[in-house]
Symmetry: C2
Subunit: 151 residues, 2 copies
Amino acid sequence: MKDIQGMPGTLGGLVLRFFQFAFAAVSLCVMATTSDFPSVTAFCYLVAAVSLQSVWSLSLAIVDIYALLVRRCLRNSRIVSLFTVGDGITSTLTFAAACASAGITVLIGNDLDNCAVNHCTRFETATAMAFLSWFAVSPSFLLNFWSLASK
Amino acid sequence: MKDIQGMPGTLGGLVLRFFQFAFAAVSLCVMATTSDFPSVTAFCYLVAAVSLQSVWSLSLAIVDIYALLVRRCLRNSRIVSLFTVGDGITSTLTFAAACASAGITVLIGNDLDNCAVNHCTRFETATAMAFLSWFAVSPSFLLNFWSLASK
């Protein structure tokens, strides 16, 4: 099977990793700079999940850059299964955190109509960025899983 | 590639479908019988998502029963890709709904300490059942995706 753009060790894969890291980092910064995020469990969880996501994506971006520079193929079965498991775990955590935050943001904004006393815009931005990060992780996970299965 | 238990048309697949349907249906019943679920957007979304999940799982259980009875193989590429896409969509929706409800349940129970005036136990039960339903859908999705890729 040939290399599809987006798999580890390709330029498409590196671009995906970069977007995952960028969105997760922005989400982390926006959420961590609000003063009252520790009062809501789901927001603390979001901070933890996007931290993990950004560390994971950054490490894999570095691996991708190395593989591209020395023109090494990363289609080893063990490496791909490690990447698949890692992507699966981090993407599930990020998605869960984003959904929990979205539920609470909608509760504050629409159901309780309590946006004036809260940092609604910041919470919404952090949630949206976490979702975008998840959107960038999903193709990585699915492509890794696909290449693992089609070996 | 041989049939793995859990793929469509196998007994394991039928058992998975049955659990998906059962957990989603219990979650739907528990949540829909609370009087104040329509006041929270995430709970309405949970009801919608687990309804879709139970309808989808029930239909696929019927297809599985039919395939087992007439001993037909369901390893047609088109059928498997339809099942994979459907499982992917319903599992994502169920998981998102479960996470959003979990975020709000934790907010009500732990952060606001407001369980006395709310149906906390029921909300928690419905959320837990939605998570269990998602746990049963994930292997179906991954096995379908695997068998699609390894063709």
